[in-house]
Amino acid sequence: MSNQPFTHLDVLESESIHIMREVAAECKNPALLFSGGKDSIVMLRLAEKAFRPARFPFPLVHIDTEHNFPEVIACRDKLASDLGERLIVRSLDDSIKKGTIVLKNADQGRNAFQSVTLLETIAEFGFDACIGGARRDEEKARAKERIFSFRDEFGQWDPKNQRPELWDTYNTRVHAGENIRVFPISNWTEMDIWEYIAREKLYIPDIYYAHEREVIRRDNGVLPVSHLVQPRSGEKVEKLVVRFRTVGDMTCTCPVESHARNAQEIIEETAITRITERGATRMDDQTSEASMELRKKEGYF
């Protein structure tokens, strides 16, 4: 009778919309973490589908490492203003000035420090829920996390003692000072994200598509040359045709060699790739077997 053929993308999309509406309805002061990367751009489209014709019932928040690719920041600002939604930006530099982040050297990777500024921002605005674009297929610790992930007053995740999460009946309750991280695209894979970008014709930073770029080889990876990454003696600058599978901190995000110039070609490449998204692109996740779990315990997304 009603066997309209639903695709897996339709099912995932509806699940994500349902989750966002639960947050809007039950949390007092939520925020949507928005970086200008592909996953958070998918989240914006899902929020449009969840709440239009009204405005979003939460502001967009970006924790800026100041190590971002300029193309990504430009895209972040364009999308926020095109949508007419409020964007709050808080910078790691503010925390560094305040002395709450102490760097060993000015150019070191900053992903690990994002938690500090994030927790300060949560306290500043009194957010009780932060909606994030993390996916369970990204990393083995994320694979263990609930969709509504409770954090104590120190922002900590306790992986050995998570709340049961039954059906789609989410427990959003927290005491003052605690908060919930909500991951509406938990069940999406990298492939689903690209299929959705293609289907919805989403505008994303062009560094996700193949382009020529100056790179150097360092610590078993390929790093993009920028004002933060300059060749050291003995390192040679090469020109390669590359694209980024993730866009994080410029000092530790590696591009992959590729000729894929649009979402459809990326889908074809994703179908045959033999390396995970993070394995191919994030040097900071490879420092120890449990680096993501440790960071999450400290309040990371």
Binding site: S2, N3, E22, D137, E139, A141, P164, N171, E289
Partner: protein, 417 residues
């Protein structure tokens, strides 16, 4: 991959060390769904742990430090893979009794459960507990995997005996439809490939079964149920008078012009439009998330439910339910708790504890309280009426969670009878 790919959510369940995580690892490995960096990472870890040459595939899902230290699963790991026929979401659940609540978490959204049994050990208490929970939360399909067949010389007699014992237990729960597969997750027999060792087995290997099990009928397509999640009032120039009721169709179908009843008030009206970001629809069905506008102005808020007048649910402040108690602190019959049912949150009281079920014998016992992992039948009273169906009729409108107001923890899962 075609754009009409179906999604199947399944879990592995069973007793400690029966090989659940290894099976998931094997399934991913043999279906070429493991990435090179993941394989090299778990190979390194296996070597460091002094494994005897072979890669420990359970490390693929046992992602937490504490799990790797102890060689056990503590919480559900979700993994994703696809074949040309389907996309799969796997929940690898822990076998330890202490972590049963995490198994309930995964089971509550699954279309199918693979229950593992160690061929050397046969049916154990935890096998029965997980089977009971699987039947209670109404997982529509069950596969019995008799694992570690390599340790019993791939004996058909052993397999047959275990299947018979399991089927007898499952029949007491009303579970009659199931497929039994002999396998060795370690060696990969009957997981993706048939292997050389189980030629006496005529059925299909696990993956083939997962690809072909029919799941179209798992959703209730008859009774329209639409809990209101959020009232949309844009209050802009353009949408000055717009008032939309946002929600997800949990079951059934709706079309523009259909008459609906709003519960619990009982008022009736008609659907004016089915609004979505991608344009208005003539009709929509579960599991779509939409926005409905109505022909009459009626006071409606979150927690109300739209239904079709021909198929009414129950509206009541009292009901009975099966309950899985999930909290370390026992049930306190003197206290009030909170229930979240669809989009409604209300205070509740436990009026009566009818009985507790012994998971081994399925016998009923009287009990003064409930401890972690107990399963019981209870009578409940709520402060405001709930709009519900029996769980067997509708998984969405028949389920609820119980929250402890003091700690905000989810302490129980309930299924209305």
């Amino acid at each position: 991959m075609s754009n009409t790919t179906q999604l199947l959510r399944f879990i592995t369940a069973g007793s400690v060390d029966d090989g659940k995580s290894t099976l998931i690892g094997r399934l991913l490995h043999d279906s070429k769904s493991i990435f090179e960096d993941q394989l090299s990472a778990i190979t390194k870890t296996s070597e460091r742990r002094g494994g005897m040459g072979a890669v420990d595939l359970s490390l693929l899902t046992d992602g937490l430090q504490a799990e790797r230290e102890q060689g056990i699963t503590i919480d559900v790991a979700y993994r994703y893979f696809a074949t040309p026929k389907r996309k799969f979401i796997i929940g690898d659940t822990p076998g330890h009794e202490q972590y049963t609540r995490n198994m309930v978490t995964a089971a509550s959204t699954a279309n199918l459960a693979v229950i593992l049994i160690d061929a050397r050990k046969g049916v154990l208490t935890q096998t029965r507990r997980h089977t009971f929970i699987t039947s209670l939360v109404g997982v529509p399909h069950i596969v019995l995997a008799v694992n570690k067949m390599d340790m019993v010389g791939y004996s058909k007699e052993t397999f047959d005996a275990i299947c018979a014992e399991y089927r007898a237990f499952a029949a007491q729960l009303g579970l009659h439809e199931m497929t039994c597969i002999p396998m060795s997750a370690l060696n990969g027999d009957m997981v993706v490939e048939r292997g050389e060792n189980l030629n006496w087995y005529q059925g299909s290997p696990l993956l083939e079964l997962l690809e072909n099990v029919v799941i179209d009928h798992d959703i209730n397509t008859i009774d329209f149920r639409y809990p209101v999640q959020w009232v949309c009032r844009p209050q802009t120039q353009e949408y000055h008078d717009f008032r939309g009721y946002m929600g997800r169709i949990e079951s059934g179908v709706i079309a523009a012009g259909d008459e609906i009843t709003i519960l619990p008030s009982g008022r009736t009206t008609k659907v004016k439009e089915i609004v979505t970001y991608d344009g208005n629809l003539q009709r929509a069905c579960a599991p779509q998330s939409v926005t409905l506008t109505l022909t009459d102005e009626i006071d409606i808020s979150r927690g109300d439910m739209f239904v079709k007048s021909a198929a009414m649910p129950q509206v009541s402040k009292e009901f009975e339910a099966m309950l899985c108690w999930l909290s370390e602190s026992p049930l306190d019959l003197n206290r009030k708790y909170i229930i979240k049912h669809t989009t409604r949150v209300v205070k509740c009281l436990f009026a009566r504890l009818e009985y507790r079920v012994d998971v081994n014998t399925l016998e009923h016992h009287s009990s003064a309280t409930l401890n972690m992992n107990d399963i019981a039948r209870v009578a409940m009273k709520v402060q405001q009426p709930l709009v519900f169906d029996s769980y067997t009729k509708n998984r969405f409108t028949g389920s609820f969670i119980v929250i402890d107001e003091a700690t905000n923890n989810t302490v129980a899962a309930g299924m209305i009878i």
